[in-house]
Structures are given as structure tokens and as C-alpha cells.
């Protein structure tokens, strides 16, 4: 059974629809990657999934349970986590507190996750007590990822997690994502580093103008000449 499935999603900001029937699904333990040009609706789709904007038509389900237009707080408690594309940290909170906020709705101890995040992103460990706003662009991105991992989510939505990261860290992040994924976490992420991302993806979705243009395995999409030409930049 698909752990996550979105069928024919229409939605947008205010009156106008940005998404015009998007379909997506990923199975337990899969990585899905969304690629597409600027303004295609990738971020909008993630927001729609996470209940941050209204879905006018279509349905979204998590492990078969309908979560269309559910409140983000509910989704978090159902094991979803989301790293937005921008403004994804709390700048005046320390790195440590940022991570704690990630675990806000956890009632149990999350010390092991803290350790794990610091292990994932060693630069953060030194800067634990520093306000996250004082970090460099890449370090912030790490904080954002770390924050999302704190809930030990079963489905992780990532909007351009590698933006502004050095190639070294980008590869690290992809490795981490694979590791997390191996542990059984479903991943749905938007990437502009499309090739690298599709390489680790089980499924790829190419969005344009709020609709699926191509949906296939990562492999196939990379090898599809049309996709490569228009969306992966040669």
C-alpha cells in the first residue's frame, strides 16, 4: 500500500488554483523527488500536502487515511515533517532550541535524536548555543533539516534541502537522506539539483504549470531525453 498518495489535487492561494490536478504517490520506504521549473507549483504542492493551503479538489491520504486539509499540528502528530524552502529556522532561538521545537509535540525523550542530528551535522554541535540567525546559509539549512528529523517522522517533506549547501554537504545530505530512508522513512522532496536527486529517487515527478508532466522512476526520468533536455539542463 502506498504510504502516501495524492490524487488529482487542485488548490492554490485565495481564489486562483496553482495546482491543477497533481498526482503523487510513494510506497513505504521510498524516496520521491519533485523537479520542475521555477513557479511550477512544487512548493505549493508540498504546502498543500502539509495543510498550509487549501485543497479545493482531490484528496491526499497518508497510509490510507484521508488527510486532505488537515491541520499541520495534526499531521505532525501523525508522523509527518516538513522543511519549507525559505524561512525554515527560528532565527532568535539557539540551534539547540530550534531542534527542540522540532520535537515540540513529542512527549517522550528525544535525547537520542538530538545526538543523532548533531552527528549528522557536526558543525551544528559547536554552534548549539548560538542563535540560529547567526549561522551561515548552509548551516541554517542543516538546522532546518535537523529540526524536521527530531520527530522521527515516517514521511518527510523537504523543499530544496540542499539549497546553498556546498557540494560536499550536498552529497552528505543525500547520503543522510538515503540513510534516513533506509530506516523506513518515506521522503518527498523538491530539488533543483535534479540529476543528483533523481539518482537516489525511487520515483520522480516532473511538475510544470501545476500539473504532472512526467512521472516515472528516477532512473527512467534521467534517461528520458526529453526530460533531460527541458528539465535537467543537458
Amino acid at each position: 500500500m502506498a504510504i502516501f498518495e495524492a490524487i488529482n489535487v487542485h488548490g492554490g492561494y485565495g481564489g486562483m488554483n496553482i495546482l491543477n490536478g497533481v498526482n503523487m504517490s510513494i510506497e513505504q520506504g521510498e524516496i520521491g523527488v519533485i523537479v520542475g521549473p521555477n513557479g511550477a507549483g512544487k512548493s505549493t504542492m508540498l504546502k498543500a500536502i502539509f495543510g498550509l493551503l487549501h485543497v479545493n479538489e482531490g484528496s491526499i491520504a497518508l497510509r490510507g487515511e484521508d488527510i486532505t486539509n488537515a491541520d499541520p499540528t495534526v499531521l505532525v502528530s501523525k508522523g509527518m515533517a516538513f522543511v519549507p524552502q525559505e524561512k525554515n529556522i527560528f532565527p532568535s532561538l539557539t540551534v539547540h532550541e530550534n531542534l527542540e521545537m522540532g520535537a515540540y509535540s513529542r512527549k517522550d525523550s528525544f535525547q537520542h535524536m538530538l545526538d543523532q542530528v548533531y552527528e549528522f551535522f557536526p558543525p551544528l554541535k559547536d554552534k548549539r548555543k548560538q542563535p540560529a540567525g547567526e549561522l551561515s546559509g548552509g548551516q541554517r539549512q542543516m538546522v532546518a533539516m535537523g529540526r524536521a528529523l527530531m520527530m522521527e517522522p515516517s514521511l518527510l517533506l523537504l523543499d530544496e534541502p540542499t539549497a546553498g549547501l556546498s557540494p560536499l554537504y550536498m552529497n552528505e545530505i543525500f547520503d543522510r537522506i538515503i540513510t534516513i530512508n533506509k530506516a523506513g522513512v518515506g521522503i518527498l522532496m523538491v530539488e533543483q539539483h535534479a540529476k543528483q536527486a533523481l539518482r537516489i529517487a525511487h520515483k520522480g515527478f516532473v511538475l510544470a504549470a501545476g500539473q504532472n508532466r512526467f512521472t516515472d522512476t528516477g532512473e527512467n526520468l534521467i534517461n528520458d531525453p526529453e526530460v533531460a533536455k527541458t528539465f535537467l539542463g543537458g
Binding site: 492561494y13 520542475g36 521549473p37 521555477n38 513557479g39 511550477a40 512544487k42 512548493s43 505549493t44 524552502q85 525559505e86 558543525p123 554552534k127 548560538q130 549561522l135 551561515s136 546559509g137 548552509g138 548551516q139 542543516m142 530544496e160 539549497a163 546553498g164 549547501l165 556546498s166 557540494p167 560536499l168 554537504y169 550536498m170 533543483q192 535534479a194 528539465f231 535537467l232 539542463g233
Partner: protein, 206 residues
């Protein structure tokens, strides 16, 4: 007069933050027609350096000399890691505002033209907050297509959030700019293909 051949001359720059040296004894220059890319891993101090050079922070010590500027306008065009796009202004207003910082006033036609160059045709009345991340980046980049802007560009991570086409177009534009005698100082983690910037390593980085 070195200042006429150099867009920027910086010598003995140093910066200390969090009780550690991000860089020290950094000396470099940027000539017209040249593109320099500041290199270093995350947290190396690239952003700090650029902001220090353009006067947005006081952490960077040392001598920095920009080429002389025309009638009191800033001698450089800076576009930051954060795009500086205001959520409450429309796209056109945002652009006017940004170029206004360099003392340039645009006609409606010029606005349309610049927006078209970055693929934002038709968005001029949308609010900044109503744009996707890549589109916001494009507003900031639209100033690079405006006539009469300073010729020395300081760009922090200009490629972030751009799609493949956008990246390629920007690379081409930067290359063209240098070929026409402009100067570019940038940071990016993206490996450019159509552009061959001179690397400037920030040493001592973590």
C-alpha cells in the same frame, strides 16, 4: 591609476567571529572584465566577507578600495543571499526599489523589459509574497538587466532556487557582463559551466 583598472582592491582583510579567525591577511583585487568566485565550505565566511566589502557589517577589517563611482552612487551592485525582496511590494515596485538603491529610476517600459529578461513577464502586479522562491530570486536578478546600474556586481549565492534554465541563463549573462568589461564577485556552491571564474579560497575555514 590602479583604481580605474581595478574594480576593487582589498588588502590585508581579516575577520574574527565567534572567537575564531574566519580569514586573515586576505589580499585580492578584482579587475574589470573579471569574475571572481569566493570559495569555501559552509560557514567559511564568504557571506561575511561580501557584506563587509559592501559595508553591511563591521566585522571585516582591512583596506578596501572600490573604483571611483559616479556622482555619489554606490560603486557596486550588491545582491544578497536573502534576496531583499519585500513581501508587501509588487514585483515592479520591488524592482524599482532595488534599482533605486543604486540611484536609478526606471520607466514602465524598462521595468517590463527587465522583468521579461528574467522570465517574470505578467507578474509585475503580484506581491513579493506571492512568488515562488525562484521567482523572488529572479526579481533580484532583474536588476542585472537594467541599464545604468553599477558595473561591479557583488552576488551572494545568486543561483540558489533557480531552475536549470535560470541557472544557465544567469551564467551566460554573467559571462557576457564580464566580456563587456564588467566585474563580478560572487559566491556560489554551484559549479558553473558557462563561466570560468577565478577562484579565491578563504583559508582557515572549518
Amino acid at each position: 591609476m590602479p583604481l580605474n583598472t581595478l574594480a576593487l582592491q582589498a588588502s590585508d582583510l581579516s575577520c574574527e567571529r565567534d572567537d575564531r579567525h574566519l580569514f586573515s591577511d586576505l589580499t585580492f583585487s578584482l579587475s574589470w572584465g573579471e569574475c571572481v568566485r569566493v570559495l569555501g565550505p559552509n560557514g567559511a565566511g564568504k557571506t561575511t566577507l561580501l557584506r563587509g566589502l559592501v559595508g553591511l557589517n563591521h566585522y571585516v577589517d582591512g583596506a578596501m578600495r572600490w573604483s571611483a563611482s559616479v556622482d555619489g552612487r554606490p560603486p557596486f551592485l550588491y545582491s544578497g543571499h536573502k534576496t531583499g525582496v519585500s513581501a508587501h511590494l509588487t514585483v515592479a515596485e520591488n524592482l524599482r526599489y532595488l534599482v533605486g538603491l543604486s540611484g536609478v529610476v526606471l520607466t514602465d517600459a524598462q521595468v517590463d523589459e527587465a522583468l521579461a529578461s528574467v522570465g517574470l513577464t505578467g507578474f509585475d502586479d503580484s506581491l513579493g509574497s506571492e512568488l515562488s522562491a525562484g521567482q523572488q530570486r529572479r526579481i533580484a536578478l532583474a536588476q542585472l538587466y537594467v541599464e545604468g546600474m553599477p558595473r561591479c556586481w557583488v552576488l551572494d549565492e545568486p543561483f540558489v532556487a533557480l531552475d536549470k534554465k535560470g541557472v544557465a541563463e544567469l551564467e551566460r549573462h554573467l559571462a557576457r557582463h564580464c566580456a563587456l568589461g564588467g566585474a563580478v564577485l560572487l559566491t556560489t556552491h554551484h559549479e558553473p559551466t558557462a563561466l570560468a571564474p577565478r577562484p579565491l579560497m578563504l583559508q582557515g575555514a572549518a
